[in-house]
């Protein structure tokens, strides 16, 4: 459950104040599949950083699962990310020197989960993503689609309240992208909350709900 009320993020460039987010208000309920669409420079990345607790807002109120995320220290934000949010990035962001299994284990390791349990849960997540045969491969030995599956496995392994995907198909060809999107729909069908950020209307159209961001303001997108 995400609740944002009048959230603002202001960058000061010289003497000019630039609103990356201008009193943005939105609510995302548990189990929803929401696409956030917007052209580049619309404040999309800033919104994602704030939803993902990578950054804090300058004004307004942000509640994640009823918990107010403001004035948090960096370490508190880190804990929130660790336990509540699963990230899927456009460029996968896997650790290149670690195997798929080690990459997926990492968030659990940071949670302090015992080693054996880490391994079991990571294996289960990878099997769920259809990578049973690729667990000991390094990212460089995997195709783009497979790397993104590893990243999704890493996102879901902690059973987060929110999966935050930033252009997850941006670096993939059309066919693989469609497969990855199917995976998100499958996760959604299993009850996960998904926020997908994209600039592609075609992808956004498949989501259950669409939010459009323009000039730092968020509105419901009803056009189909």
């Amino acid at each position: 459950m995400i609740q944002m009320k009048n959230v603002s993020k202001i960058y000061t460039i010289g003497n000019e104040e630039l609103y990356a987010l201008n009193h943005a208000t939105l609510t995302i309920r548990d189990g929803e599949f929401v696409a956030i669409i917007g052209p580049s420079g619309s404040g999309k990345s800033t919104l994602m950083n704030i939803i993902g607790c990578l950054d804090t807002a300058d004004g307004g109120e942000y509640l994640l699962d009823g918990q107010a995320i403001e004035d948090y220290t960096e370490d508190e934000l880190t804990r929130v990310r660790n336990f509540k949010i699963g990230f899927v990035f456009q460029n996968f962001n896997l650790l290149p020197k670690n195997t798929a299994l080690e990459n997926v284990e990492l968030p659990l390791v940071y949670q302090g989960v015992p080693r054996k349990e880490c391994r079991e849960r990571a294996e289960k997540a990878l099997i769920r993503m259809g990578l049973a045969e690729r667990m000991d491969h390094r990212p460089s030995e995997l195709s783009g689609g497979q790397q993104q599956r590893v990243a999704i496995a890493r996102a879901i392994v902690t059973a987060p309240s929110l999966i935050l995907a930033d252009e997850p198909t941006g670096n993939l060809d059309h066919k693989t992208g469609a497969e990855i999107l199917d995976l998100f729909h499958e996760l959604h069908a299993n009850g996960n909350t998904i926020v997908l950020i994209t600039h592609d209307d075609g992808i956004a159209r498949k989501a259950g709900r669409r939010l459009r961001i323009l000039d730092g303001q968020v509105m419901e997108d009803t056009a189909s």
Binding site: E74, T78, R81, N82, F87, N93, N98, Y110
Partner: protein
């Protein structure tokens, strides 16, 4: 958490084998330099200290340098222990080189003319026969006590008591053979032969006594003995330049201080190379942090806190430097063994030096690793993620 960080550090080191090795090289060479140099010098210091103890700090040697005065007599010298409580023994000495012959074999050796007290002063022991006795001195007997090397040279064996040797053409009966005293910095009795003082006086045309050695009653009394001897000789010669009293331990003490200075100097030089090694670690770690900005961003995004990242990089530096220290220690041990075998001297590595080296390399890892680790920990995740 610490265990996990160690596991990650090892994984990261294993993933960058070449870089880790090059980083370690500085520490390896630094530790090797320190340990090997300090071990060599401290082995030398130990041997000097051993000398100091074995020689007995209570020995004094006196030389009469001026011939303008009535010389001392043998009786003057042998009477010294009775006269002064501080003096335990005193023996005149006259040393000359002479040609020794036994059958067809000949050799050159130092001939020491002295009295029975000489054995007590220099702590000599015999492997067979007896030492010079007072009747030998009063009778000018042609008897000799030979060092083990001399016996070996002349006869090819050491049980030569009862044999006859010739010293510069005069026949001497061998009455005793000295025990092997080993080599020493101050020369060894092994290659000397000892004859009665009076016999030596006749052979080498020496009148009176120009040099003698004395031993203090105990090592605490050595300064008193030195003062007593100086007083005695002053009252006789009334000229402080006519004689010199030398305390054996002062010579060795000054040698000891030389080796100590050397140890400090070498240690200092080697310490600088260790410092350079540490700076190398910091350098590589800083490069590594910059190179792994993205990795740090990913780790932070998925839940690694500042402490985690700090610990990861710090432990990485610690592991690299400690491994380097251990490898350096192993190589030092190897080098010292090879040196010991090649130079025929025992260079030993003390446990203290080894422990200090490992501790020092760990300290270097922490000291030079903290700055890069802190830099990594402070990196904001959004910026780190944005870096390509």
């Amino acid at each position: 958490m610490i265990l996990q960080s160690f596991r990650m550090a090892f994984a990261s080191i294993a993933a960058n084998k070449m870089r880790s090795f090059l980083t370690m090289l500085g520490i390896i060479i630094g530790i090797m330099a320190v340990v090997v140099l300090v071990s060599i010098v401290s082995s030398a210091t130990n041997s000097v200290q051993g000398e100091l103890e074995s020689l007995g700090a209570e020995t004094l040697s006196v030389t009469v340098t001026s011939s303008r005065y009535q010389p001392l007599s043998v009786g003057d010298i042998t009477g010294l222990p009775d006269e002064y409580e501080s003096i335990g023994y005193a023996a005149p000495t006259a040393t000359q080189n002479a040609t020794l012959k036994a059958g067809d074999t000949s050799t050159t050796a130092a001939v020491v003319g002295t009295t029975s007290a000489y054995a007590d002063i220099n702590d000599l022991s015999l492997q067979s026969g007896r030492f010079i006795k007072s009747p030998d001195v009063s009778n000018n007997s042609a008897v000799a006590v030979v060092g083990s090397d001399v016996a070996e040279d002349l006869f090819g064996r050491t049980d030569v008591t009862g044999e006859t040797i010739s010293v510069d053409g005069r026949s001497f009966l061998v009455v005793g053979v000295l025990a092997d005293a080993g080599e020493s910095l101050m020369g060894s009795e092994n290659s000397n032969i000892i004859i009665p003082y009076t016999t030596a006086q006749r052979m080498f045309y020496i009148s009176g006594v120009t040099s003698f050695t004395a031993a203090a009653q105990s090592s605490e009394l050595v300064n008193t003995a030195e003062a007593d001897l100086t007083k005695e000789l002053m009252s006789r010669f009334k000229d402080e330049d006519a004689f010199s009293v030398m305390n054996q331990s002062t010579i060795l003490e000054s040698m000891d201080s030389i080796t100590n200075t050397m140890a400090m100097m070498f240690g200092g030089i080697a310490g600088i190379s260790l410092l350079v090694g540490g700076i190398g670690i910091m350098n590589i770690m800083l490069v590594s942090v910059a190179e792994r900005t993205r990795e740090i961003g990913i780790r932070k995004a998925i839940g690694a806190g500042r402490k985690r990242i700090l610990l990861q990089f710090l432990i990485e530096a610690l592991v690299v430097s400690t491994l380097g220290g251990l490898v350096g220690l192993g190589l030092s041990w190897l080098l010292l063994s090879i040196l010991s075998a090649a130079m025929d001297t025992a260079y030993t590595m003390s446990a203290g030096v080894a422990l200090l080296a490992v501790f020092f390399s760990m300290a270097i890892g922490v000291i030079f690793g903290i700055n890069p680790a802190n830099k990594a920990a402070k990196m904001p995740p959004i910026e780190a993620l944005r870096t390509e």
